[in-house]
Amino acid sequence: MSAQGATPPATPNRIERFAVSPRRRRSDKLARSLVLAGTVIALIPLVLVIYYLLHEGLKAWSPHFFTTDPTGNTFFKNSDIGGIRSAMLGTIEMVALASAIAVPVGIGVAVWLVEYGKQHWFAQLVRFFVDVLTGVPSIVFGLFIYIVLIIGTGSTFAGYKGSLALALLMLPVVTRSAEVVLLLVPGALRESALALGAARWKVIFRIVLPTALSGMITGVLLAIARAAGETAPLLFTAGATNKTSSNLGEFMNSLPVQIYNDVISPTQSVVNRAWGAALTLVVLILILNLVARLVSRRSRLA
């Protein structure tokens, strides 16, 4: 080493010491290809589902398909089987009511857990039950509503009873996801708002909730998508019917139940209608997703 600090030439020994060993290179390659293979394997069913949905579903799509109710006339080969209007509108109505119940309640519970309950024993208990509810099979919610509101009151199926079953299903999903997002809001923001002399509820409504908004929308969409695709809770709460209804006190058709009934039919055109309904369901959820994204993006900058 010279006193001036000139760089000494790299000796062969040094080059060797800094070289990537062949063994590490091999294990790196192996690990990368395993991860890539996993990704591809996971994509295969996804792509196939989308492919079949489009391939089979588009066959059934037509203006007639969306604007008419099922006729129930499926026994003759060339008879008009009708479309899915009642199922589409039924799903939209019931999911809308279910969301109107589950989203405010779920977010309310999450706000209480994060802002007030914290580590209190009651809050811990609520968290435990929310977790248990998340794991309850959807048919159990249907059964619960069936026993309480149909057997219990001696009445019949109705759209709002289906909505209640769906709301129960959504509630834990909304609560849990909202809680996680609310916990991510930095405490420093709450502190600085409180230090400005804001009341606690104002801090929650003006600072905490807007900051957590886009994350909460993701959780709500997840819950809506799950509810919209559920058959089991609706089978013996809302029932199945052909006619379109805007009265949530009546029997109400829905896309999943329509699919369930159609897909076991021996008539090919009815099976096609099931595919068409399935594609409709996916597109409806996709549209909802896009709209919510747009809304949340706009509100972030407002």
Binding site: L189, E191, S192, A195, L196, G197, R206, T211
Partner: protein, 301 residues
């Protein structure tokens, strides 16, 4: 000497709120600001000159659960002066300052005892509204923390909106606060951009503007420059020198040069106790306690 002579006055002078926080806190205390006796002639364009209140701590104790973090402090923050609190990490500086605007009690399990007097009003009196306390005593935190969902304008307006100020009054108050924080020239044409898009130093001045907008009488600054570079720090320090004309300032700092530069008085804390307090020059040149001397000469801490 009415401040109305100045072209940019809006921040607080015309509003009755500037008169007395003590009255708003439902206590028969003395008015804190008396326009007749306030205002030295050096009224700069951007700042309203008025008298801030005096803050006194009497046997203040603060606890986290059963741990006593501030152990019976008596201290006086003179009106319209900058008082720096120095001391090693964990000595209770921040805790003490957070007791002044009653933010300490927001932490679960935390409580405070003793008195904090704003002029003659005990802020821990049971009839005092904690929200009114925080409106009168603003706070700037260690890390700049503009509200991420809000624009520059909305950030400054947030305190006003949160405390129910009408829409028509917002614009002039926001401008006055931004001028007061020395940020107006830099952000005048980007008021609608997100507050988090500003640089770190600008964000901190935005937070100062946010505090100033609600027209506080006291400003607490908890290591306001520790996340900033030297140039941004310099701007904040210059700002502090101007702001003390209208508010009483308490600044917690780890940086002793900073204390020497900005503070009229300096208090040295150790393990939750007040070791020594006096004019800044005396603390740094002729401290009476050997522990103060060791700390300010860098022997520990």
């Amino acid at each position: 000497m009415t401040p109305d002579a100045s072209p940019h006055i809006t921040a607080g002078a015309p509003a009755p709120s500037a008169e007395s926080s003590a009255e708003k806190m439902l206590q028969p205390g003395q008015p804190t600001a008396d326009p007749a006796t306030s205002a030295p002639a050096s009224s700069s364009a951007a700042n309203i000159v008025k008298r801030g209140p005096q803050v006194r701590l009497k046997q203040l104790r603060a606890f986290y659960g059963s741990a006593e973090q501030v152990k019976g402090i008596d201290l006086e923050f003179p009106a319209n002066q900058v008082t720096a609190i120095i001391g090693p990490s964990g000595c209770g500086k921040s805790t003490m300052v957070r007791c002044i605007n009653r933010m300490h009690e927001e932490i679960p399990g935390a409580r405070a005892e003793g008195k904090v007097l704003l002029d003659d009003l005990d802020l821990y009196n049971s009839s005092v509204d904690v929200i009114a306390v925080r409106r009168a005593i603003g706070m700037v935190f260690q890390k700049p923390n503009p509200f991420p969902t809000m624009s520059v304008f909305d950030n400054v307006a947030s305190g006003l909106r949160l405390t129910g100020v009408g829409r028509n009054e917002l614009r002039p108050k926001v401008e006055a606060a931004l001028r007061g924080a020395g940020l107006w020239e830099e952000v005048a044409d980007r008021l609608s951009e997100p507050g988090i898009g500003l640089s770190g130093g600008q964000q901190q001045r935005l937070c100062i503007a946010r505090s100033l907008a609600v027209d506080p009488e006291v400003l607490l600054m908890d290591e306001p420059c520790s996340a900033l570079d030297p140039i941004a720090t310099l701007k904040i320090e210059e700002l502090i020198a101007t702001l003390k004309q209208r508010v009483t300032i308490v600044i917690v700092t780890h940086n002793m040069q900073q204390a020497a530069r900005v503070a009229d008085r300096t208090a040295f804390m150790l393990s939750g106790e007040m070791v020594e307090v006096g004019p800044t020059k005396d603390i740094f040149t002729t401290p009476s306690d050997s522990r103060t001397e060791e700390y300010v000469t860098g022997k520990f801490g």
